[in-house]
Structure formats: structure tokens, C-alpha cells
């Protein structure tokens, strides 16, 4: 036969090592080991440690003193805690504005004109910049004497408003600064989402007589659900992590009115005026419990997806 060189190979089972025999069972654990180790040490165990620490009175140096739930009791009637909690909720709610705003900009930019790619990337710019820089930029933007913000509202006869110094505006001012990069993020998500919108559905809807807002609301937005979901996730996470901006822009002030839980706990646990590790941990636990609702929701929807495959 002309196919001599393709002669059948011999398949004699050799004596194989234990590893060889259990290769498929063992390999994943070998590959997982480093990641799990790191993650356990730096993330999972510390979460439980935080719970533990929250039951102690501890300045981070001396001996710990077990005080049970006293930290939580104190938290219960600490006005600064409520201010932070309230601000956290305001953050959560208003930060979500990034989603419609991002969608709006994405719709605006979803065209194929000359140079649109450059426009898209420039619009995305704020997201890449560190929150520290964003904070600085907005601090100057809001500056009551020379800030662009007051200059602009001055043109329409308003102001000046001391945004970051006024307890009624400060949180909103910082959120606006945070919305800037977050909107850019949502915009990118929606731009990719819009790319994935089934053109035939749009056409079907056009035949069905849907136009403009109706088309957007009934046909496009539902199709953007995956993008919306991600936007929601990252926005919620972003809102609860809102530390950098506050730290840079107001340091929690004026008189603590712009604090959120994450900032407050930093202040309590690690600033010169604090070093109450236990109390800080208790705040962190509360923050974690709030987040737990979202985590549960995310995991649940992921679980559904995984099962659905």
C-alpha cells in the first residue's frame, strides 16, 4: 500500500505514574493553587478578620479588648455614621445617572462620520484618568473665586456657589465629578452594546412603524440589557467605593457633611484623629452588608446564566 508511512502506531499501555493517571483530576488544583492562595490570604480571610476586629476595641498597637457589639451600639447613635450612610445612599442613587447619561452620549456618537473614532476615544478620556486627578480638576472647576463653574453660572446671573464648601451642595458636587468618568465608562459599554444590536430587529421595528424614542424604548433598550447590567454592576461598585474623590476634594468636609461610609471608616481607623480599628471594622462590616445584597443579586444572575448554558 502506498500509505506505508502511515502505518498504524502501536498503542501499548505503559506503566504510568500516579500523576499521569490522575492528571485530569489534579491539574486544575495545581493551576488554581497560587490564585486561591493569594486570594484567601489577602481577600477572603481579611473579610472574616474584619468581622472579628469589629468586636474589639483596638487602637492597632496595644492589646485588643473584646467589647462584643459595643462598636455597633455606638454606631447606632453616631450622627456621623448616619450622615455617611445617607450620603452613601445619595451616591448610590445619583451615580446611577451615569447609565442613562452614558446611553445618551453613546447614541449621540453611534454614527459613522469622519473622525468619529477619535471623538469616541476623547469622550472616553475621563475614565482613564485617576480619580485623584479628576478630584483635583473638579476642585478647581468648583473653586468659588476663580472656578470655571462659577464663571459659567455667573454668565446666567447665578452664583457664586461654594459647591465644595457648602454642606447642601458638597455631596452633589462630588458625585457630579464622579459621574464624569463613570458616564464615560457607561458610554463605552453602550457603544459596544449598540454594535451588537440586531440590525434586523431594528428593521423589523421600522416596518412596524416604531421611530425615535419609541424605537429606543421598546426595541433598542431591551436589547441593551447585557450592557445595562454591566453598567449597573460597575456603577454600584463605583458608588460604594467612592473614596478617592472625597479624600481629594473635601477630605470629608465641610464638617463631615460629604463623608461616606468608606471615607468615614478610613478616618476612624487610619487617620490621626482615629485609630479605632474596631470601630472602623464595624463600619466596614455595615458597608459590606449593604454590598452583600448586590453581590447576592449579581451572583444569582450569573448563576442563572451559567445554568442556562
Amino acid at each position: 500500500m502506498s500509505t506505508a508511512s502511515l502505518a498504524r502506531s502501536e498503542y501499548a499501555p505503559e506503566n504510568r505514574s500516579w500523576y499521569k493517571r490522575n492528571e485530569i483530576r489534579v491539574t486544575p488544583w495545581l493551576f488554581l493553587a497560587p490564585a486561591i492562595l493569594f486570594f484567601l490570604v489577602y481577600v477572603i480571610i481579611p473579610i472574616f478578620q474584619s468581622f472579628e476586629i469589629s468586636l474589639f476595641s483596638w487602637d492597632g498597637l496595644g492589646p485588643r479588648e473584646y467589647i462584643g457589639t459595643e462598636n455597633y451600639v455606638e454606631l447606632w447613635d453616631d450622627p456621623a455614621f448616619y450622615t455617611s450612610l445617607k450620603n452613601n445612599l445619595i451616591w448610590l442613587i445619583l451615580y446611577l445617572l451615569a447609565i442613562p447619561a452614558g446611553l445618551f452620549i453613546a447614541l449621540f456618537l453611534n454614527q459613522t462620520v469622519f473622525g468619529i473614532r477619535l471623538y469616541k476615544s476623547l469622550f472616553f478620556f475621563p475614565f482613564v484618568i485617576s480619580q485623584v486627578v479628576v478630584g483635583l480638576v473638579f476642585t478647581w472647576f468648583y473653586d468659588p473665586t476663580f472656578g470655571l463653574f462659577n464663571t459659567i453660572i455667573g454668565w446666567v446671573g447665578l452664583g457664586p456657589i461654594n459647591v465644595l464648601g457648602d454642606p447642601t451642595y458638597v455631596t452633589y458636587g462630588i458625585i457630579a465629578a464622579g459621574l464624569w468618568p463613570q458616564t464615560a465608562y457607561c458610554m463605552i459599554l453602550y457603544l459596544t452594546g449598540l454594535n451588537a444590536v440586531d440590525p434586523e430587529q431594528i428593521e423589523a421595528a421600522r416596518l412596524d412603524g416604531a421611530k425615535g424614542w419609541k424605537m429606543l424604548w421598546y426595541v433598542v433598550v431591551p436589547q441593551l440589557k447585557p450592557a445595562t447590567f454591566i453598567a449597573f454592576v460597575v456603577t454600584i461598585i463605583g458608588a460604594l467605593r467612592s473614596f478617592d474623590l472625597i479624600s481629594v476634594m473635601t477630605n470629608g468636609g465641610p464638617f463631615g457633611e460629604s463623608r461616606v461610609l468608606s471615607f468615614y471608616m478610613f478616618e476612624v481607623a487610619l487617620s490621626e484623629y482615629g485609630f479605632r480599628m474596631g470601630y472602623g471594622a464595624a463600619i466596614a462590616v455595615v458597608l459590606f452588608i449593604i454590598m452583600l445584597f448586590f453581590i447576592a443579586y449579581f451572583l444569582y444572575s450569573m448563576y442563572r446564566d451559567e445554568r442556562g448554558r
Binding site: I24, T27, P28, F31, L32, P34, A35, F38, F39, V41, Y42, V43, I44, I45, P46, I47, Q49, I53, L107, N110, T112, Y119, L122, F123, F124, F125, V128, I129, S130, V132, V133, L136, V137, W140, F141, F146, L148, I188, L189, V197, A227, I230, V233, R241, F243, D244, S247, S262, M265, F266, A269, M277, G280, A284, F288, M291, F294, I295, F298, L299
Partner: protein, 282 residues
Amino acid sequence: MFPTPIQKRSRNWQFTYQAFLPLALIMWLLPLIAVGVFSVKPEGDFAAGEYWSLPSTFGGFENYGKVFFESDMPRYLLNSLLITVPTAIGAVALACMAGFALGIYKFKLNLWIFFLFVAGNFVPFQILMVPVRDLTVDMGLYNTKTGLVLFHIAFQTGFCTLFMRNFIKGLPFALIEAARVEGIAEWRIFVYIVLPLMKPAIAALSVLIFTFIWNDYFWAIVLTQGAESQPVTAGITSFNAQFRAAYHLMSAGAIVAALPPVAMFFLMQKHFIAGLTLGAVK
């Protein structure tokens, strides 16, 4: 395509749109443009209260010169680099391996371990602050770049593993089976088949992690202090303290601190956006 392509609209519409684009962009970037202008204004302009006029002379060289030669900025920048690059490499490497294990193998705890990473990724990281700081202090890594890098690697592993696992899950499983039928050892399947196919994901993730870590501020101030190990985000605040009320220098400093991730974004735009969307949406 939605909205209707502008090409199908009337001439007037097209013209309005084209004209409105740059306008909208300027409005959008106004705060940033202002900082850019600040950074090239000479000191005198501020003393004279000329905040919003064009620079009377170009003070860029002087301002940026001060940033580079009269402050710790270069050191901070170097620190950032020395923190960011190893973190990106470490986190991506760990995630490639973990993602491979979770994406390819079927075993009982698979989904649970995966969810562990995912959940860890959503945790408000403040809850880790106190214990992680203690741990770092105990290991003698407080105020070292290594301490920061180790933590960042660990924390980013959650997100990276989510990303990589979903990416690998999207690879045709038949490829793995084909290799198994051919008698290729599992680790070789990882090295020779999966890893090459993950190139786009690795690129996307590296770029993403680079910007995340570069822009980190919280952990920088929790785990480090001082110019010997702090990254530029923390550096910029002490830089600002040094030049408080010297807006031209602060602006120049801010721009210097922001530049690397921005440059990264422009160079690697494709990967960057792929990273943002792919990891999550798949």
C-alpha cells in the same frame, strides 16, 4: 443600526451634527482643557488674577521643568511603574492559570470557587483595609512596593479570573478534546494551545489592570507613605501640598500623573475597550 445613520438624514442635519460634535467634545472635556491651559500659563498670570485668559506667555517648559526637577514627581512616576507593571504581570499570570482551571475542567467545586473570585471582586475593598494593613505590617512589607504589589495582585486576581475564565469558556472546547485525543499532557495544552489563544485577552487585561493600578489611590495611602514607595497618585497630593495655591504647577503635576494611562489608552485602545466589555459581557 440605531440611531438612524446620519448619512440618511438631510444635508442640514448632517451639517448640524458635524458642527455639534466638536462643540460637545469641548464641553465634555472642559475641566480637563482648563487644567491643560493652566499648566502652560506662567506664574504671573495667576498673580494677576488672569485665570481664564489665554496664557500671556508660554510657561509650559518652566512649569513642567519644575515638576520634573524640583519635586519628587519623577520618583513617584518610577514607583508607579514599578508597582503597576509587576502587578499586571502577576495578576494576569495567576488569572490565566486559574481561568484555565475553571474554564476547562469540570469538578464539583468549580462554580463555587469561581463565585468566590467573583464575589471577592465585588467586595467593598475598605473591609479589607484593617486586616490587610496589619498583615502587611506583620510581614515587614509596610511601605514597600512589594507589599503593595502583592496585595494588588491578590485583589485584582478576582476580576482577572472572572475575565479569563469567561474568555476561556468561550474557546471551543473541542480544541481541548482534540488535544486530549492526541495525547497531549494537560499542562502542555495550557502552554501550547490555550495560552496562544488567550493573547487578545491577555493584552486587553494587562492594559486594563495597568490603568486600574496606576490610578489606585486608596491602597497607596493605606500601605505606603513617602516618596520612596508611593505611586504617583499619592505623590500628586503631597506635590500639591508642596505647591499649594500654585495652580500652574499643580496642573502640570496633574497632567504628568494622568499622562501614562492616557498614553496607554491611546496606544492600546482596541485592547482596552475589548477588555472593558469582553470581560464582563463576553
